[in-house]
């Protein structure tokens, strides 16, 4: 049977969006659970008559916790909204740091579960680029997920961005032991990876354990 590159790319993209949404809904559910329990606790303190000298302070702490969770929920919705709108147009002018921030926000939970911290090392005055932001996120996501899966617990994963020689350079730098376990999760078939890189007009190289993605700033 003939290899259908386009179909496989679409399937991988749907899987990518599914993964992002699953992580997002899981995180939101956790925030809602905390808000529900905190509100429930205040209700219980009133109904079941808990009395203590610190009562007003305790209420204030619970209210503060609820406000914090609402703020986190709001932030995550903002990232998801921005992420979703990346798909509005095939080509747009965007700030690569913002697209990476969205990915990090939506992947932090998965990384935390494996006790891996994701760190940003972004060039502050990075040049805006004109390309397909959604496709770029799709590509970077797979490398991040692969590293998160393969990295040993308590490791770090650094995402570095910079503008250099007319290109935007994204470096994915693992700091920790990379396990050689045969874990397929996060692996993007080479044919699809190659197609995406061609569409973005860039290239990928491996410098030891560091993955380097170079995408031209203006041309495709």
């Amino acid at each position: 049977m003939e290899y259908d590159e386009e179909r496989d790319l679409r399937v991988s993209q749907l899987s990518f969006i599914g993964n992002i949404l699953a992580g997002f809904t899981h995180e939101i559910k956790n925030y809602i659970a905390i808000i529900k329990e905190s509100a429930g606790l205040m209700g219980d303190m009133i109904k079941l008559g808990k009395k203590s000298k610190n009562e007003p302070q305790e209420y204030l702490e619970i209210i503060h916790s609820i406000e914090e969770q609402i703020e986190k929920t709001n932030d995550l919705f903002r990232y998801l909204n921005r992420f979703s709108h990346r798909m509005d147009n095939e080509l747009s002018t965007f700030n690569v740091n913002e697209t990476m921030e969205e990915l990090i926000a939506l992947l932090t939970r998965a990384a935390n579960q494996r006790k891996i911290s994701i760190e940003k090392d972004f060039q502050k005055d990075i040049l805006p680029m004109n390309n397909n932001p959604s496709m770029l996120q799709f590509l970077v996501f797979h490398f991040l997920e692969e590293k998160i899966t393969k990295l040993d617990k308590n490791s770090r994963l650094i995402i570095k961005t910079e503008s250099a020689n007319g290109s935007t350079v994204i470096r994915i730098i693992p700091k920790g032991n990379l396990l050689d376990a045969d874990k397929e999760k996060g692996y993007l078939p080479y044919e699809i990876q190659d197609k995406v890189v061609r569409q973005l007009g860039g290239n990928i190289s491996q410098e030891k354990e560091e993955t380097v993605i170079k995408i031209p700033i203006t041309d495709i």
Binding site: H26, E37, I62, K115
Partner: protein, 125 residues
């Protein structure tokens, strides 16, 4: 009268501590722990009647914690707590000896009913 000892294992500190306090207000001897090491220490030292276990906690697979609890004392009842549609993990948990499961966000009435059923089953063992 001895209070039912409940151990909550969840890495969401605010969630688990609020839930523990809500159970304490209802006269349960409830305690919350937030990682695998604290969880195992508490199981060995406190010997809870019922454990409410989130399957996704850093440091150890929740199913491994469940199996360790059952090896230590098969009469300790475990209620799986899950905030996501991890149907396969929940199924595996139930076949590995978990008493029941409950979804986040938790309904306190439903959780208490399940804790009571679990305690009754432990007492009858």
């Amino acid at each position: 009268m001895a209070f039912t000892k409940v151990l909550l294992i969840d890495d969401e500190v605010e969630f688990a501590s609020a839930l523990a306090e809500r159970l304490q207000l209802r006269n349960y001897d409830a305690k919350a722990v937030y990682n695998a090491l604290e969880a195992l220490n508490s199981i060995y030292s406190d010997k809870p009647d019922v454990v409410v276990l989130d399957l996704k906690i850093p440091g150890m697979d929740g199913l491994e914690i469940l199996k360790t609890i059952k090896q230590f004392d098969p009469t300790i009842e475990v209620i799986i707590l899950t905030g996501h549609g991890a149907v396969e993990s929940v199924k595996e948990g139930l076949t590995s000896g978990a008493f029941e499961y409950i979804m986040k966000p938790v309904d306190i009435g439903e959780l208490i009913a399940k804790i009571e059923q679990a305690k009754k089953r432990r007492d009858n063992k």
